[in-house]
């Protein structure tokens, strides 16, 4: 009668014997299950061990999803054996059970959690109180802080997430989801004292996450490690500002403590009771010593000032002198193009100190007989002093340096120049035009 009820499942279980070694293999079992909704995978394992193969090794403890010991991969997906029902899989499906990925296998379904906990520890998973207090320090359940931490404290360290994470396999240094999640809960805990150290530990590793959400999908406690990891990455962005605010607060707190006993100690060696080694004579009276120190500093300062003064005045030298303009002839006024701009290269000798330098400088002369107007433009661009030239086609003065452009009347049309073109003084003598060059 019992045979009619229920369903017979084919169960494949990964077997590995450390005394034999090798790659391991799958053993196949047939198991009749009466009520699948009431049978967990852990029950399946226990029954097979009891009824068919007593050499089968697996791990469990609480049987109520509390301890995290029974995590295995069931039909390709990580889960707690005690939380997964056989009825979670369609009746026609076979069951395949193997140990967690990325963990060294000890025997059959039992894996070595050692490396996992090593990484866990590296993220400083313990709480270190910031202030000692008699009263319990409470974070209110409705506070922003507690709500941000959310379910993350529920982790039972089963390792399902690490097994599901492909990145753990690629980066040896990657702490993996569970350790980062643990660090996250403490990073957000305002009572904890190890913020900086912990953040430093996890930041290096948290960028290995490729946001695949595998961990989130398999977690039996419905924790989103992905969210925890992204939260840490956000903390990293905020870190410079936090660190700055913190050091400011520290500086403010410690400011009055400094600067008290600086002048009070004449000699460090004396203070530490090593007189005689310090090279200063104790018997020398302080008044004389102070006087000597003052004289030394004073005389030094006077000499430095004297030399400095000499240096400064020679450095300034003639630099700031106003220069007398040189009147340079620019040819006959009548030869200049009417109603247009003519560029004239002025040749003259410029005297600076003992240097008599031959100079060729272009000036641009606009002549309009009708309005009886002659304007002489300095070719120096008012931006940074490059040479401006007249572009007859565009009817613009152009500067090749940064693309400045000026209108015929000298005003700025485009580009960086802040002021209109400078004009130069000129006068006309017997039909010759003379220009004042500075």
């Amino acid at each position: 009668m019992a045979q009619e009820q229920g369903n017979t499942r084919k169960v494949a279980i990964y077997r590995y014997d450390p005394t034999v070694g090798g790659d391991g293999h799958y053993d196949h079992y047939d198991l009749h299950i009466e009520d699948e909704t009431n049978t967990t995978i852990l029950d399946v394992l226990l029954r097979i061990q009891r009824e068919q193969d007593s050499t089968l090794a697996f791990r469990y403890a609480c049987r109520v999803n509390m301890c995290g010991s029974c995590a295995v991969v069931i039909n390709g997906r990580e889960g707690l054996a005690c939380k997964t029902n056989v009825s979670d899989f369609a009746e026609s499906k076979d069951l395949t059970i193997r140990p967690l990925n990325h963990f060294p296998v000890v025997k059959d379904l039992v894996v070595d959690m050692g490396p996992f906990f090593e990484k866990y520890e590296e993220c400083l998973p313990f709480f270190e109180p910031r202030d000692m207090s008699e009263e319990p320090a409470i974070i209110r359940p409705d506070s922003i802080e507690r709500r941000a931490i959310g379910f993350s404290t529920e982790c039972i360290a089963c390792g399902c997430c690490v097994s599901s994470c492909t990145m753990v396999n690629y980066h040896d240094g990657y702490a993996g989801p569970a350790p980062l999640n643990r660090a996250f809960t403490l990073l957000l805990d305002s009572r904890d004292a190890l913020y900086e150290e912990r953040l430093d530990r996890v930041l290096q590793s948290c960028y290995n996450c490729r946001t695949e959400f595998n961990c989130t999908e398999v977690c039996p406690k419905e924790i989103s490690c992905t969210r925890s990891i992204k939260f840490i990455q956000r903390l990293a962005i905020k870190e410079p500002f936090r660190a700055k605010a913190k050091s400011k607060a520290e500086a403010a707190a410690s400011a009055p403590a400094h600067g008290e006993n600086v002048a009070a100690e004449p000699c460090a060696a004396h203070a530490s009771g090593e007189a005689g080694q310090c090279g200063c004579d104790e018997n020398l009276d302080t008044g004389r010593r102070n006087f000597l120190a003052k004289v030394t500093v004073g005389l030094g300062a006077v000499s430095a000032l004297t030399v400095g003064g000499v240096l400064a005045s020679t450095f300034v030298g003639q630099s700031l002198d106003k220069k007398e303009p040189v009147w340079v002839p620019a040819g006959k006024l009548g030869d200049l193009k009417e109603g247009d701009v003519t560029t004239v290269n002025l040749r003259y000798v410029e005297n600076v100190g003992f240097y008599n330098q031959e100079r060729v400088k272009p000036v641009m002369i606009y002549r309009n007989q009708e309005e009886d107007k002659v304007v002489v433009y300095d070719s120096r661009c008012t931006h940074l002093g490059c040479s401006v030239h007249w572009d007859a086609r565009q009817k613009l003065f152009l500067c090749a340096c940064h693309g400045g452009a000026f209108e015929l009347d000298g005003s700025v049309k485009a580009g960086p120049p802040p002021r209109p073109l400078a004009t130069l003084e000129h006068r006309v003598e017997n039909g010759n035009i003379l220009i004042a060059m500075v």
Partner: protein, 485 residues
């Protein structure tokens, strides 16, 4: 060891000072980026030595400076190589100093307790740039002159004292006194400053140790101490020196190669009047130069003074701006992002600056088919009026002041519209900044027709040199003269 050697070693303080200095153990996990610091020192020595020998021929006066450089280049045996090493070495040093700065920034090695080391380092950067700047005035050529004029005009934007500062730097205006002044600064002032700063920098590096890129927690340190024998040794000498020398030799090889095979760009002597001359500074200042073009009129000071000053302040204040204790790139996403962006901006500005220094409109993009007679006439006008100076065609040539010519067709412009537009742009669109081109009607029509021929929706087009177009134009003219058309 003989007695003499023993006494000598004792007299120079070998055991107490020199030996510990030389064999100092450094963190074992340092990458190659730490060699950049030593590279800078070695390049500085190279430049100092070559500079001394250049000074044996160089004459700092306006009527002799240019000639003395010519003499070094042409008559002094191997003088061109000597100057080459100094010239290319200077570029290499600026590059090395900047890379060193970036490496230290990205590693976060500037953080407490190394704030002062960093600040001294930033002053070393300023001194290096100052050496570069004062150095290239000395050949007294066009580049020297204009770069000096432009750079020294920058403080002129400071209200009241600005002009005075410019005069002080130049010693009045650009004259013989400017050369002697720059010569003194380049040869005596800045090298002294450099030596003092380098000594301070090395002292500080030694005092606080080379920063460990992967700091260990206290417990881990104790554990490591117990395993000290298993970790491999990385000492200042010979491991670090050996590595640095290797890097230096590679760089030095490149410098020698350039000195022998590449020409130092030669320009006319100061005072040459040449309208087409494009004043450009040395490549490492090009990005600042390009920055200046982005600001106009009243905002101009932002580009010339504001941003460079801000950069300097941020650089100097960095250890006080970024206070977190984290080091390395991964742990400082914000700092890493800022650093990478700044590098990208500098590289981008440099590239665009060089692109902008090209001769605009040197090449014209034409459709693949043969042009008709009118279109050809239009092409002649297009080239003679230098339209390509302001307009690109399908992204080729031009300053991009005006719209791209290839977009006229897709926009559905007509010939009449274009002809009228060229004649008087403001009449068509009051916001246009294009100058008027009052040409004859048939010229305008031909130009408009040519512009409409610039349609690259179906073909890639071909590039033709502007010179070639002009020659074709001349040939046509002479033909029509002969045949009397």
């Amino acid at each position: 060891m003989t007695d003499f050697q023993k006494v000598l070693l004792q007299r120079i303080g070998w055991d107490v000072h020199l030996k510990p200095f030389l064999y100092k153990k450094l963190p074992t996990n340092l990458g190659w980026s730490v060699t950049l610091g030593s590279l800078c020192v070695m390049l500085f020595v190279l430049l100092a030595v070559t500079g001394m020998f250049l000074a044996m021929y160089y004459s700092p006066s306006p009527d002799k400076a240019y000639q003395s450089i010519e003499y070094i280049m042409n008559d002094v045996p191997m003088g061109d190589i000597l100057r080459g090493i100094h010239h290319w070495g200077a570029g290499a040093m600026v590059l090395a100093v900047c890379l060193h700065l970036y490496a230290v920034f990205f590693n976060g090695s500037f953080k407490a307790p190394r704030e002062l080391t960093w600040i001294v380092g930033v002053f070393l950067l300023f001194a290096t740039l100052g050496l570069g700047f004062t150095g290239y005035l000395l050949p007294w050529d066009q580049k020297a002159y204009w770069a000096t004029v432009v750079a020294t005009a920058i403080p002129g934007d400071i209200p009241v004292v600005g002009e005075g500062i410019t005069s002080l730097i130049l010693g009045g205006q650009v004259s013989g006194f400017t050369i002697t002044r720059f010569y003194a600064i380049h040869m005596l002032v800045l090298p002294t400053v450099m030596i003092v700063l380098i000594a301070a920098h090395i002292y500080l590096v030694r005092l606080h140790g080379v920063s460990d890129h992967k700091p260990k927690a206290k417990g881990e340190l104790d554990a490591a101490a117990n395993h000290a024998t298993t970790t491999k040794l990385y000492r200042f000498y010979p491991e670090h020196c050996g590595r640095s020398t290797l890097v230096f030799i590679a760089v030095f090889g490149a410098i020698i190669y350039l000195s022998i095979f590449a020409d130092i760009p030669k320009e006319g002597i100061v005072g040459t009047v040449d309208e087409s001359y494009l004043p450009r500074p040395e490549w490492y200042f090009m990005w600042i130069f390009q920055l200046l073009t982005f600001f106009s009129g009243s905002t101009e000071v932002i580009g010339s003074l504001g941003i460079p000053t801000l950069c300097a302040v941020v650089l100097l204040g960095l250890p006080f701006i970024e206070k977190s204790k984290h080091v390395g790139m991964a742990k400082r996403p914000l700092a890493t992002a800022v650093g990478v962006s700044s590098a990208v901006v500098i590289v981008y500005l440099t590239i665009t600056a060089f692109a902008a220094a090209r001769d605009y409109g040197g090449e014209i993009l034409l459709p693949e088919r043969n042009l008709t007679e009118t279109e050809n006439a239009g092409l002649q006008i297009y080239v003679k009026q230098d339209c390509a100076y302001c307009h690109q065609t399908s992204g080729e040539g031009g300053r991009r002041v005006g719209p791209d010519m290839a977009r006229l067709n897709p926009k559905g412009r007509t010939k009449e519209y274009l002809a009228a537009y060229v004649k008087d742009p403001q009449a068509q669109s009051s916001f246009s900044i294009m100058p008027k081109y009052p040409m004859k009607q048939d010229e305008l029509d031909a130009l408009a027709e040519f512009m409409l021929a610039l349609d690259f929706r179906d073909n890639a087009g071909r590039l033709i040199e502007k010179r070639e177009v002009l020659e074709q134009g001349k040939a046509k003219e002479s033909v029509s003269l002969v045949t009397g058309h």
